[in-house]
Amino acid sequence: MKKRVIVTGVIGADVHAVGNKILAYALEEAGFHVVNLGVMVSQEEYIEAALETNADAILVSSLYGHGEIDCNGLRDKCDEAGLKDIILLAGGNIVVGKQDFKEVEKRFMDMGFTKVYPPGTQPETTIEDLNLMFAKK
C-alpha cells in the first residue's frame, strides 16, 4: 500500500522545534511519509508543499500563543489552491494562556480545521486519529 503523505510544520513566527522534530519522527516510525517543513512556516509554504507532494493531510503546530492569528484563513487558501478536502489538523499550545479547550476547539473548527488538539497531545493519539481518518476516506 502506498504510504500516506503528511505535511508538518510550525506556523508563523514560532520557533518551537522540539515537538515538531519528535512528532515528525513518530509519524515516520508509524509508517507515514512525512514532509517536515520545520519552524516558521507560512500558510503558503504548507500549501505549496501539500500540492507538490500530493499530501493527504497538513498538521499545523503552533506553540507560542499567536496560533489563532497565524491559522486564520488557511482553509480558504487550501480551497483556493484546490486542496479541497485535505485533512487539516492543529495542535500545540494554539492560543495565549490557559483557556477552556472546548471554546478554543470551537473557534478552530469554525476556521475550518478537521480536528484540533489540546496541549500535551501524545503522538500515539495523533497517529491513531490519522489512521482512523484515512480509513474513512
Binding site: A13, D14, V15, H16, A17, V18, G19, K21, I22, Y25, A26, G38, V39, M40, Y64, G65, H66, N93, V95, V96, G97, K98, Q99, P119, G120, Q122
Partner: protein, 483 residues
Amino acid sequence: MEIKNKKIANDAFFAERKEVLKQWPTGEGVDFDEVVNYQKSIPDSKRFGKKLINAELKGETLIQPRAGVALPKEHIELLRFLETEGEADLLPTTVDAYTRLNRYDEAQAGIDKSKEAGRSMLNGFPIVNYGVEICRSVTSALDNPVQVRHGTPDARLLTEISIAGGFTSYEGGGISYNIPYSKNHSLEKTIAHWQYTDRLVGLYEEAGVSINREPFGPLTGTLVAPCISNSVAVLESLLAAEQGVKDLTVGYGQCGNLIQDVAAIRSLKLMTREYLDKFGYSDVKVTTVFHQWMGGFPQDEAKSFGVISWGAAAAVLGKATKVIVKTPHEAMGIPTKEANAAGLRASKQLTSMLKDQSFTEIPAVILESDIIMNEMRCILDKVEELGKGDFAAGTVAAFEAGVIDVPFAPSRFNSGKVMPARDNTGAVRLLSVGNIPLSEDLLKFHREKLEQRAAFEKRPVSFQMVIDDVYAIGKGFLIGRPK
C-alpha cells in the same frame, strides 16, 4: 562578511548607530549623554548588577520571573504584583514575538488591538514601539531592578531604547538568541548585531553606567548537555567582554540530576572566570543564573509545583546567584499573574530555606564538574583553533563544522547531528556526539554511561531513548524508561 572578536571602532559604531536609531521613530528619543545622566540617577537598590553582586557575596540566590503584556499600565500592574505578591527579587520585561523579529508595524497593530480589547493581545511588552519615556514610566514604578528578556537576533534598536528606558540589565547574545530562536539568521550577522549591543553597553560602562549583561544559557531548553551550553556562555562572555561589558551573568538550564546541575553551575562559573582572565578581561564581574527546567512541563499544576520546587532547590544548592522561575501554568500557556506569583513564592520558600546549604564542593560534584570542564576545553580549544585565535570567527566555523551543535535547535546554521540522552541516574550525556571534538576518554565515558542505562533497561542504546527522555518530565519522570 568576516567577523572578528575585536572592539568596534568608535567611527564605525557611531555610523551604524545613526542607522539603527532610524529603524523606528522612537529611536530619535535616545540621547546618549542624557541617558547617562538618567541612568546615574537610578538608586543602587534598583540596579541589577548591584543586587546580583550583593547576593553573590552573601551566598544567596535571588528569584526572577518572566512576564510581559502589551499595555504599559497592565504591565506595571503585573510587575508590581510579582514583586509584592510574588516576592520577586528581580523583575523582567519579556518582549513580544513581533518586536523580537523587528516587525514593529505588527507590534503596533498588536498594541492597538490590545487597547481596543482592553487586554493583552501580544505575548510580551513591545519596548521599541513604546520608546524611552514609556519604558522609564515602567522601570521607575517598581521597587526592584528590571531586566529586558527577549530572544531577538537583531536587538540593536531594542538595546538602545531599553538602556535609555532605565532597564539595568539585558539578556541575550549573538549565539544564544540566534540558534534557538531563529531559522535563517546567519551567525556572522547576529554576532555582529550583538557586538553592537555589547559595545553600546561598553560605552555606557566607560561613561560610568554599568549595565548587567546575560547570555541566554538554556538555549533550546531540552536536554542540552552542560558542556554545550557552558561553552556557548564562555564564548558570548568573551565576545561581550571585548566590547567593554564589565558585568556578566552566565546561565544554565536545569537538566534534573542534582549532581550534574550543581556541577554545571560550578564549572560554568570557574571556566568563565578562567577564560576571561586568560584573555585579559579580569576586571569583568561574573555571576550565575540557573533556569528551572526549560523543557516540556507536566500538565498538572501540583506536579508543576514539584518541578518548580526542585529547580529552586537545585539552584540554591548549586549557589547560583539567581534562579529564573517557571509557573504552574507552564504546560498550558502564558500564565496569569496569580500563577506566576505562586511559582515565585514556592521558589522563594526554597531559596530562603536552603540558602545555608551548599553542594558545590562535594566530591561527586567536583568529579562531574571536572568532566564538564574537560569537555568544554575540547570544544573551546577547537573553536580557538578554527578561528585561528579569534573566538568570533571560531564560533562561526565551529557551528559550521558541528563542533558546537545544539540539540533540537531550529536554526539551519546548526548542524543538528548531536543527540543527547539521559544516563541511568538522569544526567544528560551524548548519544550521538556528532562532530563535537571530545577526547577518546570522554567519548568512552559517555558511551559507558549510556550503556549502563541500556543494560538496566534491557534495550539497546537508541534514538528511542531520546524520544522517551523528551517526554519524561511531562509524564512525571526524569528518565524515559521503556514501559
